[in-house]
């Protein structure tokens, strides 16, 4: 059960260009465990949408099943939401997007939901470059079923029971880059500074944007020996800082070209990466894979915007669908009428 927050609003709480306060982007009260990484991600999504001046009703939220997949109930109350079945959110999102290409699609999934039961659908939604933001709240375990290892659990990571995982992990980030994703980032639920701009960039990206966000499960996978614990991730996180400059806002402070690298997105907004971060060409798949591998060899976790292909064709481009949403077409436009049927009949005589 999700209670609504008391609708008290502080008189001078800041508003965005649409005149909405941050509160306007909130959802029901979370029923997750206190300290769950997922709640921090929900908060970041709220900030990102607030700052991007998005109309909540222009967003459709989709998820599978899991603690992570519950979170769409905890942000953007003003948006429609579809909490589907376990591991199959990508197909539901695909259908929804086909019906109306004009909405903003935010998918929330878990590592079990996407890398275990959902592996097949995940691979194929990437392949189709569906225009959506796909957020994996990655805690290396099945939270809602009480902590079993998921497919993203690292070799040698120990479960709460103390068992050591022996299977090589599926890194959704690498697989996505492999299969043709056009925007791939990794972040940490505890790093709002990086996560919020990344979310904004993902939402602004035209095509499939994957964000794999390490999000510790405080109840089942936050212990010593877990590579998905707050402590471990904080220690091992090699975070590449990310700035996001929305389209309309002209760039004020001039940066020394030497220290920053700017990626201009399809809609004109800009992702600014700091030199420190720009250690490889994030527009080349192989070097992205190489960089990720180099870090993980040292047991480090490289986070930030890891790869981007700015002009990949999204599904509607590949299909050549009309600009106008299919769900807006009227009977008049769709139904050929009896005249055509006569010609059909004629052809069959």
């Amino acid at each position: 059960m999700t209670y609504l927050r008391p609708n008290f609003r502080h008189p001078d709480s800041p508003t965005n260009r649409l005149g909405y306060t941050r509160q306007h982007y909130e959802g029901g009260l979370s029923t997750l465990c206190a300290g769950c990484g997922h709640d921090s991600i929900s908060a970041s999504i709220i900030d990102a949408c607030f700052e991007l001046n998005i109309e909540p009703h222009q967003v459709a939220k989709l998820s599978g099943i899991g603690c992570s997949s519950k979170t769409p109930a905890y942000f953007l109350n003003g948006s429609h939401s579809f909490n589907s079945v376990h591991g199959r959110m990508p197909s539901v999102a695909t259908g929804a997007n086909l019906a109306n290409r004009d909405l903003i699609y935010i998918g929330v999934s878990g590592d079990g939901d996407s890398a275990s039961i959902g592996m097949g659908q995940f691979a194929h939604v990437v392949r189709r470059n569906l225009n959506m933001s796909y957020i994996v709240e990655n805690n290396g375990c099945y939270g809602l079923t009480k902590g079993q290892d998921s497919a993203t659990s690292d070799v040698g990571s120990t479960s709460k029971k103390g068992d050591i995982n022996m299977y090589s992990p599926i890194d959704l980030v690498r697989v996505a880059i492999e299969i043709g994703a056009t925007f791939v980032g990794r972040s940490f639920s505890g790093d709002k500074e990086q996560l919020v701009p990344l979310l904004k960039a993902a939402i602004s990206h035209r095509g499939f944007a994957l964000l794999d966000v390490v999000s510790p499960c405080v109840t089942f996978n936050n212990h010593q020996g877990s590579t998905k614990s707050y402590a471990h991730v904080r220690e091992m996180n090699d975070a590449m800082p990310v700035d996001f400059v929305p389209m309309r806002q002209e760039i004020t402070a001039s940066y020394d070209a030497g220290t920053t690298h700017e990626v201009c997105m399809h809609d004109g907004s800009v992702v600014r990466l700091h030199k420190a971060a720009k250690e490889y060409d994030i527009e080349d798949r192989q070097s992205a894979l190489q960089a990720i591998a180099d870090h993980s060899k040292e047991g480090r976790i490289l986070t930030g915007l890891l790869f981007i292909d700015r002009d990949g064709e999204e599904l509607h481009d590949s299909l050549g669908t009309a600009r106008r949403p299919l769900n807006e077409l009227s009977e008049k436009e769709l139904c050929p009428g009896s005249r055509f049927l006569d010609s059909i009949n004629a052809g069959l005589r």
Binding site: H80, S81, P90, S91, T94, N100, N327, E331, L348
Partner: protein, 626 residues
């Protein structure tokens, strides 16, 4: 030996090797008879294989206009050595066996009760053509030419058909006509034409066909057209025989009708999903978002869609699924027909679920019911499953022309628009039964800036779509879904019943492709003085006609193409009347469409016996069922 005499009423069968181009030649043969104004029903009996295996093409010619299988074979045209032994056996006494006489016939294949007509097809081809491919292809055309002479097919019609077939590839026309003539000539020179079984044009038109304004088309194409006319804009599917041609045809028509002339952009989207789970997920997502979307599949796909069908039922999302049934279980016989997904479809998914099923019996109904299914899906906010089958879907059927009433308007169901929401004072309750029909109101995502947003989920919810584990809220919701299913009874196509000429305690029930042979069987028995009322079921949930029909008869034969009498079970379960002791199963499940002869024989023997022992003392005899 006396030879069978028949005019416009016989069964001819072609035995070929698949992948040798026989299909088009055989199709041309059937079409020619059709164009002569003589009722014809062709059936492809093909292997689950691409090339080199035996395949058959059975054509029934029936002046009376019977389109179901009759049973038996009067003429066998055998151009496949692999299956020759079987094929000789299959010919009825007095019938004809037409074969390639280039090599002399194996003596063991000689029967003294049938006629043999040898045509040196290979020899002719070797003489006439140098190219191997041509030799292969024209062999088929040559025997069609010969049959034209033997059966008295109007040669002009054949020539025109060649013309139609090769529109665009005109240079192929002459050689094909030449091949036809080769066969035609050979037959005329070597045999008395026409033979005792033959065609005659312009005789009284079939009593089942008011006037001969008919078309020849397959059910899958008709269903696809239905989807086009229904304004379906999204099709998500995964290839599987025998449903593949539904989406192929949808694609074909959309390319003609749905491309924006200005931009060249598509007003539709077809996605080949990675599997059937995904296909159904896409259909659900698209319908949820206000587009009309559908998928087509067969048995294995239906099994894989179970979880999603349960979600759509419980979360109340419209969806249209065309199940072109084939012989199960599991992979079964992928290129054989059956009606064996009835229970799996009606009760698909775990928990308490029931699904609306439609049972088309003709291409025209494939068109109408698919058209209607989208209205039903959106009105009822639930999946609608169209139960077609391989026989109906992939074979060409004579059918009245497709009709569409231009005054028709879509029923998009209970959807609150921006303005509806704007005008609403009370709080929007997605799952409120405001109208008492069990059907709630929905909104599309993005409909309104601050009203009407709700949370769709497969878990338990209250009237306002809020998650709940409260038992009473759950029960209210489940009971409303039952009420909605009751409402469905008033919306789905009613059953078609027909009274016999005289009063009778016997009835026959059937659905889909068991209809034609059942009607024929009933007439066979009628001629013998045995009267049977008929009821053709067209939808589940069953509406009142069905219950009344069962109530009003003492014994009712249920004709089905499955082993377990699945429709009979559904009738027993889902009607309020006493049925079990009344419904006598008549089943065929060898993968071929049931024949009129078989149905007639089964009912006849049961009824004659019953005249001895009184009905009351008899239970439905399961043994009757083959």
């Amino acid at each position: 030996m006396q030879s069978k005499q028949a005019v416009n009423d016989f069964v001819i069968k072609f035995a070929n090797v698949n992948g040798t181009g026989s299909a088009s030649a055989n199709g041309m043969f059937a079409k020619a008879i059709f164009r002569m104004g003589i009722p014809v029903s062709p059936r492809n009996i093909f292997p689950s294989n691409i090339q080199g295996m035996p395949t058959w093409y059975e054509v029934r010619v029936s002046e009376a206009g019977y389109l179901g299988r009759r049973g038996g074979t009067d003429i066998m045209v055998c151009v496949n050595p692999q299956s020759m032994a079987r094929d000789v056996e299959a010919v009825d006494p007095g019938g004809y066996f037409i074969y390639d006489s280039t090599k002399p016939l194996d003596l063991r294949l000689i029967r003294d009760d049938i006629h043999y007509i040898g045509i040196p097809l290979t020899e002719i081809c070797l003489r006439e053509y140098t190219d191997a491919r041509q030799r292969l292809l024209f062999k088929n055309v040559i025997y069609v030419g010969a049959l034209a002479a033997l059966l008295n097919i109007d040669f002009e019609i054949l020539k025109n058909l060649v013309g139609d077939q090769f529109k665009g590839k005109e240079k192929l026309i002459t050689p094909n006509i030449y091949a036809l003539e080769l066969g035609h000539q050979y037959a005329h020179e070597h045999f008395t034409c026409p033979m005792s079984i033959r065609l005659e044009q312009g005789r009284t038109v079939a009593k089942h066909i008011s006037d001969f304004d008919q078309i020849l088309m397959d059910g899958n194409t008709a269903a696809a057209l239905g989807a086009v006319y229904a304004g379906a804009t999204v099709a998500a599917w995964y290839p599987i025989t025998p449903s593949t041609s539904v989406v192929d045809a949808f694609d074909k028509y959309c390319r003609r009708l749905r491309i924006d002339p200005g931009t060249g952009k598509k007003n539709y989207a077809i996605v080949q999903a990675e599997d059937e789970l995904s296909a159904m997920g896409m259909v659900i997502g698209a319908n949820w978002n206000g587009a009309r979307a559908f998928t087509a599949t067969s048995g294995p796909g239906l099994s894989l869609m179970g979880e999603f069908l349960g979600l759509a039922y419980f979360a109340e999302v419209p969806a249209v699924l065309i199940d072109v049934q084939r012989a199960g279980p599991s992979t079964g016989m992928p290129t054989r027909t059956q009606q064996s997904d009835v229970l799996a479809a009606a009760y698909a998914s775990h928990g308490d679920t029931k699904h609306v099923l439609l049972f088309p019996a003709t291409p025209a109904e494939c068109f109408e019911m698919t058209l209607q299914s989208f209205d039903l899906a959106e009105r009822l906010q639930t999946p609608i499953i169209i139960m077609s089958d391989l026989d109906l879907g992939m074979n060409e059927w004579m059918s009245p022309p497709l009709e569409f009433d231009d005054s028709h308007t879509y029923d998009r169901g209970k959807v609150l628009s921006h303005d509806d929401l704007e005008g609403m004072s009370e709080r929007f309750g997605r799952y409120l039964d405001s109208d008492g029909d069990g059907i709630p109101y929905r909104t599309y995502p993005g409909a309104h800036p601050d009203k009407g947003a709700y949370f769709t989920r497969g878990s338990s919810k209250d009237e306002y779509a809020a998650y709940t584990e409260d038992g009473q809220a759950y029960v209210r919701n489940m009971d409303r879904l039952l009420k909605k299913f009751e409402t469905a009874k008033t919306l789905v196509p009613e059953a078609k019943t027909k009274q016999a000429s005289k009063a009778t305690e016997y009835g026959v029930m059937f659905f889909g492709t068991t209809a034609s042979p059942s009607y024929e069987a009933v007439e066979i028995l009628e001629a013998e003085g045995i009267a049977l009322d008929t009821c053709r079921i067209r939808a589940f949930p069953f509406n009142t006609e069905v219950e009344e029909f069962i109530r009003d008869h003492e014994r009712i034969f249920t004709i089905e193409q499955n082993r377990d009498g699945q429709m009979r079970r559904l009738l027993i379960n889902e009607t309020g009347v006493r049925a079990k002791s009344k419904l006598v199963p008549v089943l065929e499940y060898d993968g071929l469409p049931i024949t009129a002869r078989k149905i007639a024989a089964t009912m006849r023997s049961y009824i004659l016996e019953s005249n001895v022992t009184s009905l009351a003392d008899r239970q439905p005899v399961e043994e009757l069922t083959s």
